[in-house]
């Protein structure tokens, strides 16, 4: 059959009551169950995740700031330590120089003192020897005088006596 309508049906565009009721029931049930029970767990998981991501980002940012602060502190400490080391080296150098100069001055002083003591000792020894010599000369003069007087020796005999006495003194 060409161009023939096989069956007469209700207008396909018009809604059917049963379908309307069931579609409203379906959609209503979907909304109620979805909004009350099915949607919240998924949404809460998404919120939890975004919270976690935000927290992690904040923690990472804070850790980065801490690391930068620590690095800055380390740099500053290193700078201070370097300065301190330099200062200590310079102090040590200055102290060493001072000690060296002091030691040299002390050595000079001691050498001077030793020299002076030696001079004093020499002078004292000399004085002592002069005194001793004087004493001996006096003793010899006395002995000579005694011998002269005791033996009443002639003046011709005095000279050899004096000579022998002097020779004796020299030999001593």
């Amino acid at each position: 059959m060409l161009f023939g309508v096989v069956t007469q049906s209700p207008n396909p565009i018009l809604p059917s009551t049963g379908e309307i009721i069931w579609s409203v029931i379906s959609f209503g049930l979907l909304l109620v169950i979805l909004v009350k029970y099915a949607f919240p767990p998924v949404a809460s998981m998404m919120a939890k995740r975004s919270d976690k991501i935000r927290d992690d980002l904040e923690a990472a940012e804070s850790a980065r700031r801490d690391a930068e602060r620590l690095a800055e502190e380390r740099r500053a400490e290193l700078g201070r330590a370097r300065e301190e080391g330099q200062r200590i080296i310079e102090d040590a150098r200055a102290t060493g120089e001072a000690l060296r100069q002091e030691a040299a001055a002390e050595a000079q002083r001691e050498a001077q003192m030793v020299r002076e003591q030696a001079q004093l000792q020499v002078a004292a020894e000399r004085s002592r020897l002069i005194l001793e010599l004087r004493g001996e000369l006096a003793g010899m003069a006395i002995e000579l005088s005694t011998r002269i007087l005791a033996h009443e020796l002639a003046s011709s005999e005095v000279d050899p006596l004096v000579e022998s006495l002097l020779a004796e003194a020299d030999s001593e």
């Binding site: 161009f3 207008n11 049963g18």
Partner: protein, 256 residues
């Protein structure tokens, strides 16, 4: 209808489904009722599965559902309604998936019928949206202020209001629900008829050897159209949802 040997079923046969249960009563239960219930059940099942397998790094269904919520939140709600509309995300997500699955039944083998190609589905949906945005507007702004903001555009000379108020009345309170329902129904019905047409032609050519010469064309077109209808299914669900968001946003924010 038989045309040149091709047995093309009448439109009524493609759309009016026989009762499965409660035949002859107001609660007549047929294929369309099964499909609407099925789309609600699939949506709920997907959300329950996504909510049950909560993982910090989402995979599979959880990933798909979360991406969908993200899409509706950012591309529909935030863009159209602003932060104030965030409370409507579950509602709009439900609407989107309900329409989407009802649309996609068009290309599911053995079902091959979009429930949204029936005005019985699109008119109630449009009416639910219509009632919702009016109730929200009245609750949010008060009866007088809401209707004033909806009907009287600001900054328009009084003389023009005589012309504009009836136009606004017509466009907001009469054309909107009608357009919502007809747009979805028309697109899905047209797609359904296209697929049926090319399926019937392909089938007729299969059985007639002479038709084998041109067989690849309708069959290939059928494949392409199936892909296109999947796209249309997503697009129409998105359009219905975003228009609902626009209407709700106007009710929340005073419109104009």
């Amino acid at each position: 209808m038989i045309f040149a040997g091709i047995n093309f079923p009448p439109i009524a046969e493609l759309l009016n489904w026989k009762p499965i249960a409660f035949g002859g009563t107001a609660l007549m239960f047929n294929k369309i009722a099964v499909l609407t219930l099925l789309s609600a059940a699939i949506t709920l099942a997907l959300f329950f599965v996504a909510g049950r397998r909560q993982k910090l790094v989402p995979r599979g269904i959880q990933n798909i559902m979360e991406s969908s919520i993200d899409f509706i939140t950012n591309s529909v709600v935030i863009d159209v309604m602003g932060q104030e509309g965030l409370a409507w995300v579950p509602w709009l997500t439900g609407l989107f998936f309900f329409i989407l699955f009802n649309n996609l039944f068009e290309v599911i083998p053995f079902i091959q019928m979009p429930a949204t190609a029936r005005t019985s589905v699109t008119i109630p949906l449009a009416l639910i949206v219509y009632v919702t945005f009016i109730v929200v507007g009245v609750k949010k702004q008060g009866f007088g202020r809401y209707f004033k903001s909806a009907l009287v555009p600001s900054g328009v000379p009084v003389a023009l209001l005589i012309l504009l108020v009836p136009i606004e009345l017509l466009s907001t309170f009469i054309v909107r629900p009608f357009a919502l329902a007809v747009r979805l129904f028309g697109n899905m019905l047209a797609g359904h008829l296209l697929l049926v047409t090319f399926a019937v032609i392909s089938e007729a050519l299969f059985v007639r050897s002479i038709g084998l010469i041109v067989l690849p064309l309708p069959a290939a077109t059928l494949v392409v159209l199936t892909g296109y209808e999947i796209f249309v299914g997503f697009l129409q669900a998105f359009i219905f949802t975003i228009l609902t968001a626009v209407y709700l946003g106007e009710s929340l924010g005073g419109g104009h």
